[in-house]
């Protein structure tokens, strides 16, 4: 067999690789997010680490009192973590919006955890109590009915939200 140069060998493997798994741009944002999730990688933490390393690169320009290359500046702007102090009003607004969205997301998760999926059944042992009057029973039944309606309404909203 003809002995290939390292460059030729690499190009051969690259050609096979692209035919088998596609070119790099065949991986879209959605697939990437799914892949990183499956690998147990926190995307935000990853982007923060990338930011820190690009920031270290930028420091060399600042120390040399040189302007940042436009692409490096854009990279730092894009990857700037939400925990970093905002520099402009637009950044402040973006951070606030993201924080509120996260709180709402957490509240939704909490609500769906509190509201059971299974059909509701209430404990009705109180009906056997001897010292309850008919009015007491009616009041408790009414409270039970109201609770049922409230929870069903909550569940309905939650389903629509999903």
């Amino acid at each position: 067999m003809k002995r290939r140069t390292p460059e030729e060998a690499r190009n051969r493997i690259n050609r096979l690789s692209e035919a088998l798994i596609g070119a790099p741009d065949e991986i879209g944002g959605e697939e990437a997010e799914q892949a990183l999730g499956e690998a147990g990688l926190d995307i935000e933490a990853l982007q923060e680490r990338v930011y820190q390393r690009l920031y270290a690169e930028a420091q060399q320009y600042w120390m040399a009192q040189k302007d940042l290359p436009p692409l490096l500046k854009k990279a730092l702007d894009d990857l700037r973590p939400l925990s970093a102090p905002p520099r402009t009003e637009a950044e402040l607004a973006r951070q606030a919006k993201t924080s509120v969205e996260r709180i709402v997301e957490k509240a939704k998760l909490l609500a769906s955890a509190l509201v059971p999926e299974a059909p509701l059944t209430f404990a009705e042992s109180y009906r056997n109590k001897q010292d309850l009057t008919e009015t007491d029973r009616k009041s408790i039944d009414a409270v039970q009915e109201q609770l049922k309606i409230k929870i069903e309404r909550l569940k309905g909203k939650d389903d629509k939200g999903q």
Binding site: R10, A19, A23, D25, I27, G29, Q47, L71, K74
Partner: protein
């Protein structure tokens, strides 16, 4: 700058490059959360940062004729990974020679390489992972239990078909189905980064 003269979204790029890097690592039997190129300590994240740094500082230029920005950066990263593996395999060959000379000599005991210079027993052998024959064997092992992926691999490796349309014709299916199979194969490779070819399993480092 992107091919349309717009500045790219680095959040999107970093995500997609990381995902592609995981697939490339999977190709070379490097998998798991803390996978690194043996002997270098370089992870997928290191390669992603390197390529983004080079692009952001103008050391990699995006020319339209070379494809989309993601393709240019992804290809540069893949080449970096292969080069790191190949360079390490070259160094290992030299280390092995030194180890075999020193192991028989008590006088030269102090010259023996440090433990971390010996290849890690669990790590794939870099000299084999960049070998085309080993590469082919490894890919076949990964898809052995899934006929649609096996057909795709055979069409590329045995029939040397590279374009989705040609592969689709040979397999009697559509190009869209081939794209789906490629997506599945990418997933499979990310998940099975630790799969070794039969030849590698028998090897003692």
């Amino acid at each position: 700058m992107s091919e349309h003269g717009q500045l790219p979204d680095f959040k999107d790029l970093s995500k997609r490059l990381m995902s592609y890097g995981l697939v490339v690592f999977g190709h070379f039997s490097l998998g798991g959360e803390d996978a690194v190129v043996p002997g270098t300590g370089l992870s997928v994240e290191d390669f992603v940062v390197k390529v983004l740094q080079e692009y952001a500082t103008g050391r990699i230029k995006h020319q339209k004729s070379r494809g989309s920005l993601m393709t240019v950066l992804g290809t540069a990263m893949r080449n970096d990974i292969v080069d790191a593996l190949r360079k390490k395999s070259h160094e290992l060959e030299e280390t092995r020679a030194t180890i075999s000379v020193n192991e028989d000599s008590e006088e030269k005991d102090h010259e023996k390489p440090a433990l971390d210079e010996y290849p890690q027993s669990m790590a794939p052998d870099p000299s084999s992972v960049v070998d085309e024959e080993e590469y082919r064997a490894r890919i076949r092992t990964v898809v052995d239990d899934e006929p649609p992926l096996k057909d795709l691999v055979e069409a590329v490796l045995d029939l040397e078909l590279y374009k989705p349309e040609d592969i689709a014709d040979a397999l009697g299916t559509s190009a869209a189905d081939i794209q789906n199979r490629k997506k599945k194969l990418r997933r499979r490779l990310r998940q099975s980064g630790l799969v070794q070819s039969p030849k590698e399993e028998g090897r003692t480092l």
